[in-house]
C-alpha cells in the first residue's frame, strides 16, 4: 500500500491501481471536508435560518408552493421557485406594476372566511403571520386568525427576545402545545423591540431597505386563506384520515383542543410551513 510496506513494487500495475485508489479516497475525503467546512461557515455567519427555510420549502409539495398569482387565478398552475420571497421575483414585480394584486392596503376593512376574520389594514405572510405599520414607524407582527386558533392561548407562543434580529422566512416564534413544537417564520427583516400590545405579538424596528413586496395584501388575502384552508384540510385527510378542520363551515376557536395530537401536529406543521 505504501512504498515502505512489504510487497510494494514500483511497477505500472501498482502505480496505476494505488494511484486510482488514492485519487478516489482524496476526492471523497475532499468533498466531505468541503461540505463540513461550508456548513461550519454557514452556521458561523448566522445563515443557518436561510438554509433551514430553503430545505423546508423544498419539502413542500408543488401545490403548497403555488405562486400567489396562481392562487389569485392570474397565472394558473404557476409554482413559486423563490421560497415565497417575491422581492427578487421578476414576474411578481411585472404584475405588480401592471396593476396585479389589489393594493388596497390601509383600508380598515376585513374579509371573513369560515369564521376567520382577516383585517385588510395589514400585510400577510404565507406562514400565517401578519405585519402592520405603526404611526411611530415601527411594525407590529402577529399571528393571523388561523395561526392564533392553532396556537391557542398566548402562553403557547415563545417570543423572540428584544434586540434579536429577524429575517424574512427565518424562525421568529415557536409554538409549544399538546406536546407539539413548531417554528413560526418571520414576515419581515428587522429588530425586535419588545412585546406588542393588543392583537399583535411583537413590535419590530424595520431593517434598512424594508419592503413588503413579498407579503400578501388586499384582494389576495381571501383567495389565499381559502387556498390555505383547502390545503390544510387535504393534508389532514391524507395524513390522519377523517380529521376535519372546519366544524359546520367554521374553523373552531381553539383548534388545539379540537384536533387530536397527531392531527394538531400535522395542522401546525403545515400551517406554519414547518413540514
Amino acid at each position: 500500500m505504501f512504498p515502505w510496506v512489504y510487497g510494494f513494487e514500483w511497477s505500472p500495475g501498482y502505480l496505476i491501481f494505488l494511484g486510482v485508489f488514492y485519487t478516489v479516497a482524496l476526492v471523497v475525503a475532499g468533498a466531505m471536508v468541503f461540505a463540513v467546512w461550508r456548513s461550519f461557515r454557514t452556521v458561523q455567519r448566522g445563515a443557518a435560518g436561510e438554509v433551514m427555510w430553503h430545505a423546508a420549502f423544498e419539502d413542500l409539495t408543488p401545490a403548497e408552493r403555488a405562486c400567489r398569482h396562481a392562487v389569485m387565478g392570474e397565472l394558473p398552475g404557476r409554482v413559486c421557485d423563490n421560497g415565497f420571497d417575491c422581492r427578487g421575483c421578476r414576474m411578481h414585480l411585472r404584475l405588480l406594476y401592471a396593476g396585479g394584486p389589489d393594493g388596497a392596503y390601509g383600508v380598515p376593512e376585513a374579509v371573513e372566511i369560515c369564521g376567520l376574520r382577516l383585517p385588510l389594514d395589514r400585510y400577510y405572510h404565507r406562514g400565517h403571520t401578519w405585519v402592520r405599520h405603526e404611526e411611530d414607524g415601527s411594525l407590529v407582527v402577529g399571528l393571523d386568525e388561523l395561526g392564533r386558533r392553532l396556537a391557542g392561548e398566548p402562553g403557547a407562543v415563545e417570543m423572540p427576545p428584544a434586540g434579536m434580529a429577524l429575517r424574512v422566512n427565518e424562525p421568529a416564534f415557536r409554538v409549544r402545545r399538546n406536546g407539539v413544537e413548531a417554528r413560526i417564520l418571520s414576515p419581515v427583516d428587522g429588530t425586535v423591540l419588545g412585546p406588542a400590545e393588543g392583537e399583535g405579538l411583537i413590535r419590530v424596528r424595520p431593517a434598512e431597505g424594508f419592503s413588503t413586496v413579498h407579503l400578501l395584501r388586499g384582494g389576495e388575502v381571501k383567495a389565499w386563506m381559502q387556498h390555505e384552508l383547502e390545503r390544510l384540510q387535504l393534508a389532514l385527510s391524507a395524513a390522519c384520515g377523517a380529521a376535519s378542520l372546519a366544524d359546520g363551515g367554521a374553523v373552531p376557536e381553539d383548534l388545539g383542543r379540537r384536533l387530536g395530537g397527531r392531527e394538531y401536529d400535522t395542522a401546525c406543521g403545515l400551517a406554519f410551513l414547518d413540514v
Partner: protein, 419 residues
C-alpha cells in the same frame, strides 16, 4: 408514551402504520436476524467447517448471493448517475430509496464476505498488502470505497429526519452534502463500474474452467463488460420492484407513474443491449472459446437437471429478451402488472446469471476423472444470509418509517384525498 415518541420521529403529513403493527412486522425479521447472528458467530469462532463449502466448492451460496445483491444494488449507483449526471430529475422521487437499497446490498455483501474470508481481525491485510494483479483486490478496494460513498450518501437522507433536521447545524450539513452529491454520484459510478466488472472478470479469467473462461478486450474478458451491463440493466428494475413492494406494504402510492416509466424504459434498453451482447458472447464461446479449450460446449449441458440447456434459454430468452420486450413497448410498460412482472424477470435473470457463474462453474468437471459435484448449503450458510436479508428489511423498514424515502408520498396522498 412510546407511541408519542414514535410519532415525534415521523415526518409531518405522512401516514404510518400504528406502532404496535410496526413492531409485529419487525418481530419475524428480528428473529431471523438473531438466528443469523448466531450462525455468523459460529462461523467466525470455529471456521468454515460449519459450511458445506470445501476445496472444490470454494464459492457457495454466500458468493452467489453476494454477486446477486451487488448486481441488484447497482440500482443505487445507476439511479444516482441517471439523476445527477443524466439529469433525469423525475428519479429524485426514488433516489433516497435507491441509496438505502444500495447501502443494504453493499453492507450485507461486505459482511458476508468478511464471514466467508474469516479472520476479521486481519481484514486490514487485504488493504495493506494488496495483490494488484488480482481481480479480487480491485473488488475489495472498490466495494469498500463504494460502501463508504453509500454511507456518505445515506447521511443526508438520515439528517432529513424530523428530529434531526430541527437542529440547524444538521440541516445545514445535509444541505451542503447535497451540493456535492454529484461528486459522490460520479465516484460511485466509477467504483461500481470497476467492481461489477471485476466480479465478472474474475470468472472470465478462470483458464482452468472452460465453462466460465471468456476471451475479451486487452486484459478484460467479456464477462467484465457483461457483468457491468447486466447490473446496470437490472438495477433500475430492482428499484422499480422494491418501490412497488413498498407501495403494496404501505397500501398507498409513493411515486408518480412517470418514475416507473423512466425506470422501465432505461432498464428495457439496457437489457436489450445486454441480451444482444450476451448472445454474441455465447455464440463465440460455443463456437470458438470452449472448443479451443478442449470442451465442445454441449458437454457442459449433458448433466441435465438444474444445469441443462434450459438454463441457457431461461437466462437469455425467458429472463432477458422477454422482459426487455415488455419494458420497451410503451403500451405494455404502462400496465403496472406487466411492468412489475418484467422488472421481476429482469432481476431473476441477473440472479440466474450469477448462479450460473458461481455454482454451475464449480459444479462442472474439468478433468476426465472428475464428475459433476453437487452442493447444498448448510443451515449456517442459509442463516447467515438470512441475517443479511433481515438486516436489509429492518433497515429499509426503519428508513421508510422515520425518513423521507419517497418525497412524492405526501403530494400523492393529498391528491388521493382530493378525490
Amino acid at each position: 408514551m412510546v407511541e408519542r415518541l414514535d410519532e415525534a420521529w415521523i415526518a409531518r403529513g405522512l401516514r404510518r402504520a400504528p406502532f404496535h403493527r410496526f413492531l409485529l412486522w419487525l418481530a419475524p425479521w428480528a428473529a431471523m436476524l438473531v438466528l443469523g447472528a448466531w450462525a455468523i458467530f459460529l462461523c467466525l469462532r470455529d471456521g468454515l467447517f460449519h459450511t458445506n463449502m470445501d476445496n472444490r466448492y470454494v464459492f457457495g451460496l454466500w458468493i452467489f448471493l453476494d454477486l446477486t445483491v451487488i448486481a441488484l444494488g447497482a440500482g443505487a449507483f445507476f439511479t444516482g448517475f441517471l439523476l445527477y449526471v443524466m439529469r433525469k430529475t423525475e428519479l429524485r422521487a426514488v433516489i433516497n430509496s435507491a441509496v438505502v437499497l444500495g447501502l443494504v446490498c453493499y453492507s450485507g455483501a461486505v459482511l458476508i464476505l468478511a464471514v466467508d474470508v474469516g479472520q476479521p481481525l486481519r481484514a486490514w491485510f487485504t488493504f495493506y498488502h494488496p495483490n494488484v494483479h488480482s481481480m479480487l483486490a480491485e473488488v475489495t478496494f472498490c466495494i469498500t470505497c463504494y460502501l463508504t460513498v453509500l454511507l456518505i450518501e445515506y447521511v443526508p437522507v438520515l439528517l432529513r429526519n424530523r428530529k434531526l433536521k430541527a437542529k440547524p447545524s444538521m440541516l445545514v450539513l445535509e444541505w451542503n452534502l447535497h451540493k456535492v452529491m454529484v461528486v459522490f454520484a460520479l465516484i460511485g459510478t466509477l467504483l461500481s463500474f470497476f467492481h461489477q466488472g471485476s466480479l465478472g472478470g474474475l470468472f472470465g479469467v478462470l483458464r482452468g474452467r472452460p465453462f466460465a473462461f471468456r476471451e475479451g478486450l486487452l486484459i478484460w474478458p467479456s464477462t467484465f463488460f457483461l457483468f457491468v451491463l447486466s447490473a446496470m440493466a437490472a438495477g433500475p428494475s430492482f428499484v422499480a420492484l422494491t418501490t412497488w413492494l413498498a407501495e403494496k406494504a404501505a397500501r398507498r402510492r409513493l411515486v408518480r407513474d412517470e418514475v416507473y416509466q423512466t425506470l422501465g424504459r432505461v432498464s428495457g434498453w439496457l437489457l436489450l443491449a445486454y441480451v444482444f451482447l450476451k448472445s454474441l458472447d455465447t455464440l463465440l464461446w460455443i463456437n470458438r472459446t470452449a472448443p479451443e479449450r478442449g470442451f465442445p460446449a454441449h458437454r457442459f449441458y449433458e448433466y441435465g437437471g438444474a444445469f441443462g440447456t434450459w438454463v441457457l434459454f431461461a437466462e437469455i430468452a425467458l429472463l432477458g429478451l422477454v422482459p426487455a420486450a415488455l419494458l420497451l413497448k410503451p403500451e405494455w410498460r404502462a400496465r403496472r402488472g406487466v411492468m412489475i412482472a418484467a422488472a421481476a424477470m429482469a432481476c431473476l435473470g441477473v440472479t440466474l446469471n450469477r448462479f450460473i457463474f458461481t455454482i454451475q462453474t464449480l459444479a462442472l468437471p474439468t478433468m476426465p476423472f472428475d464428475r459433476l459435484l453437487l452442493y447444498w448449503p448448510s443451515w449456517q450458510e442459509f442463516a447467515a444470509f438470512g441475517f443479511v436479508v433481515a438486516y436489509g428489511v429492518l433497515l429499509y423498514s426503519f428508513s421508510y418509517r422515520y425518513l423521507t424515502l419517497f418525497p412524492q408520498e405526501r403530494e400523492l396522498a393529498m391528491a388521493e384525498a382530493r378525490r
